[in-house]
Symmetry: D2
Subunit: 341 residues, 4 copies
């Protein structure tokens, strides 16, 4: 993680907490807390404080068992990057567990994002993610306080309890059927100062979208009311201005806090679609790249039937990193940080 300002006192505990939110196997109550994914800081932090130089954090892969992957070497798994990577890298990619394409890569996003969130907190910015949809179950939009209060209260990270129950049931159903489900993670960033981002080449929406599409399985990024704008009229979609507590605000927030690629002071909101986990234990059609013949594959191993709940801290992390990056490159924030030191 490069670019983190010097002088920030790092809370390793809070980084670890975010890593634990991303960790597999959290939802079963009886699962004993394992010591997996302990974050170590190798550089960039001295006496507990950021030095301003690159921060290297690492978690070691301890119980990876690559053996199930050997037989998929030549038969790409449907929905995975195996085939595209094989072409891109001439067959030399590390096929075990998806390698560079693995969801495991998001551990890095969360480590860095957890630190970004800490710095943003000092700027007064709060980043809140939650599960909005799993399969056919769509939750109503919660208030920020509901996210804070209920976001971690159930295993699907949906702050609307009734929806959460139905999501849990939907996941259980596909799990039994040897199938999987997709869904949507929503994210809201509060107290983002206006004026971050710029038109055309570094829009805030463009940077958020590019970063979010780095997360495996993301297939859509929407800003504010997003795709819903398509069926709106201008008189509905336009966020009209008013003055509230002496500050310029908008009456609605269909824009998701961004106009012309620049933050306008309203909450930044986005919606990220994740496709269903592609690894499912059903027979699927594939091809044998060695023999160039059609084949069948059954993907085994430990796979979540729905990765959406674990993706919540990942989305928060990515959003936090992009916002921090823009905040640091803008003139407004340097002063705030300086004073906070």
């Amino acid at each position: 993680m490069d670019g983190c300002p010097a002088g920030h006192r790092v809370s390793l505990e809070s980084i670890q907490r975010e890593m634990d939110r991303r960790r597999p196997g959290q939802s079963g109550v009886s699962t004993p807390r394992s010591e997996q994914d302990r974050v170590e800081v190798l550089s960039g932090v001295f006496k507990g404080v950021t030095t301003g130089t690159p921060i290297c954090m690492v978690v070691w892969n301890r119980d990876a068992d690559p053996s199930p992957y050997d037989r998929i070497k030549d038969t790409p798994r449907p929905g995975h990057a195996d085939y595209a990577a094989s072409v891109r890298y001439g067959g030399h990619q590390d096929h075990r567990g998806g390698g560079r394409f693995s969801g495991r890569n998001t551990a890095g996003f969360v480590m860095a994002g957890a630190l970004a969130k800490q710095v943003l907190t000092r700027l007064g910015v709060e980043v809140l993610g939650y599960t909005r949809q799993i399969g056919e179950v769509v939750s109503p939009e919660p208030t920020p306080q509901e996210i804070r209060d209920q976001g971690e209260a159930n295993p699907v990270r949906c702050p609307h309890p009734a929806s959460a129950d139905r999501m849990v049931a939907a996941i259980e159903e596909v799990r039994k059927a040897g199938d999987s489900l997709g869904g949507k993670v929503a994210c809201v960033a509060l107290n983002v100062p206006p004026g971050l981002g710029q038109p055309v080449f570094d829009t805030l929406e463009g940077d958020l979208a590019k970063a979010l599409f780095s997360v495996p399985a993301v297939k859509a990024v929407e800003s504010g009311a997003g795709a819903g704008h398509a069926s709106m009229k201008g008189s509905e979609s336009n966020d009209q201005y008013l003055i509230e507590d002496g500050r310029v605000r908008t009456a609605t927030n269909n824009s998701g806090g961004i106009h012309g690629g620049i933050s306008n002071g309203m909450p930044i909101t986005c919606l990220v679609t994740f496709k269903p986990t592609p690894s499912i234990p059903r027979p699927q059609r594939t091809v044998n790249l060695a023999t160039h013949e059609e084949a069948t594959i059954e993907v085994t191993g430990r796979h979540d039937p729905c990765i959406v709940p674990r993706a919540v801290p990942v989305v928060e992390s990515v959003v936090a990193m992009v916002l921090l990056d823009h905040a640091l490159s803008s003139g407004f924030i340097g002063q705030v940080l300086e004073e906070a030191r």
Copy 2:
């Protein structure tokens, strides 16, 4: 436009044709063809052939009338970037017509994109855009041949004639009501070689999304089945592999031709949501930034009640530029270009 390979014979006519597709006032049959937006090439082309150095193309603003904009200087238009830009640039932005935030900026995208499409054609790649949705009217998904045949046959650029008729009616209705409509542009790129893009930091989807969010009014970018993945099961969403004419293909294309950020040889497909034109001649609430009081604004001037049809060549252009960029940075394509010279 930097990075265009040397030795490509430029068709100025085809660049101009794309500019004409983007031009305002095309849809009225009686509108005489004006000589607006004639593209001039200032550098990078010598004896009709690209030199490999930056290509500067320009169209001059001829009949811009900035006077309607003077009174909006202090009262930001709802749905526009006026307020965010004012904060970002300390009140020094050029407020006339949106300045750097104007839809006028897309003229540059189309000039460069038209050239990118020409080069891609030599690589066998075809980029086809069309209107998928306007307001509540959603078109069925057309075949590539239907896009080629019907895409320009009606003023809304929807290759499904019955949908096109309903879209035209919907636009007429809001125009009369002093309102506007949003919609979706779809884009498909055929014959894109597998292996373009890379995981994590330069995914093809991320680069497409970042570039598409540079287009004013874009609020969502979906790849392949996009947001539809949220309510799918893995067994539905996974694109299973087969061999067709000796090549590896997928039976479905929910992934939109991209797995793990890398093209897989199937058509690249994306869906881009545009919000309704924010400039509507109805009274709307705003604030006076000079007096810091609430105010009312009616936005006048020449504004399309729906910009979606004109956005079709813009989306095609952006997609073409991103694909060309990845094709050039990959090792696969250099050879093709070299031979084609």
Copy 3:
């Protein structure tokens, strides 16, 4: 020029003045002032003030006569980029006058650099260039005040009058002999705040060097005492610290104001070597790329026998742009600019 902060009132006169310093044909007293190279601003400045968006400035080529270049199409000029460009661009480069490789490109550096200097002035930073060496004539190192007073007092831009006289004589001599001379331009930037630049990937010296090597004919970049360090001892080279007027300073400035890639508050100094003008009217050996046979070439046209004096504003401009870029990306300066508005 992208990244110039909003709210700066632009002096077009001072930009034009810098362009006039770079203009050919200045040194002959009898040469009437032509109206060549008038700078036009096409974008990014509104009501005389920068908007914060990209600034496009242009000068039009008016009396270019490409005819002398036709016969060099296939016979690359020794010392020029003709051959390398021909390979790089497959023979499609614009060979007239060097095209993208022409010294003419430095007009763009000077336009942008002149604006950068204006902004730096508001930060208290002053950038002063001068001719240190032409051929065998090496000037003693002047004080900043001598540069200000004498830098423009003679046609070679050397603030040491006796050296200047000898430089003029040396140039006259090679001109008569149909030959040319190289030299060195020195540049000093005063009042640069400490703390600009960073180690390893964005060192201030590295960015200065990369930018300076963009100037045609540059063959060496030295920082501070530069290559002279090779024959120094540590006890001579180390700049020892002291306190002067309450500020940390160094007793010497062999480091050229940069330690570890970061400015230390002392003047930034560098030395830039320009090779002799390669265009000389003597017969030289070349090859005919069409016939692949050896050949002879005599390069005619209007060429300075020594470009070093005209390179002084170019070097100043490049240094100014790099410093401004680092100043803007650092937290220190934003505040200064904000207050200065």
Copy 4:
């Protein structure tokens, strides 16, 4: 190290060999070979072959003793980055051993550069560095074969034995005097294909210079005849073309194989000046940043009196990385690599 092509079989032995060349304490014959700085590969190599994804190599600091650095916390060492870093990072930098500014950082350059050299070898490119100057002792320019034969034959890495002897004596002398010496490393890259690099924004010289200035203690970068061009005439400096073995070559190579920022097929040559080791055990003036008073410092610890010999593999590594980067981004080389697989 990102961007290394897939399919390259890595020789860890040859990487280790380069690390051993950079290692401290090599020159004393009696020094037993310690097992320091063993390179481990953490990612990007699978079954001994590069995967195309980022390669993480690490050496662990084992016997670092930071205690001598505690007392320099507030008293910056002359010639070091301590003070500049303290300003840049608000006093939060890791002051032990120079932290991010330490010569230790070049271990990373050598690991990555060793791998770059391996890939370049498959392209036929050979990178040879050697010591050209130490203090007042300047070696004559050797042939490539002399560098291969004699470059490692003496502790100063100077392929001219008589000069090497004098260099050794000069270093011994300053060591006894508690002082240090600077010098120059030369580097030549053979068989670099013509056409790498581009004008203005990515010149080969600019990229080499920027990368070389990333190496601590570098104060000048010269290309080809470098600063020597200042006192040349055009008729001397111009490299005239001829045909040799059917290929276009130049009779001299003052340009160092680069014209207009682009390789011309001749050997790439550069000269890099290193300042004397700033850590010397003599009393020097400094200031106490805590008390803001003048002070005295004596820098102790294990420091080479001249780092130039150990810098030879560092310069080679940096040059190799820049050349590989340009080779990969050019169309010419992809094909060669593909065939070589």
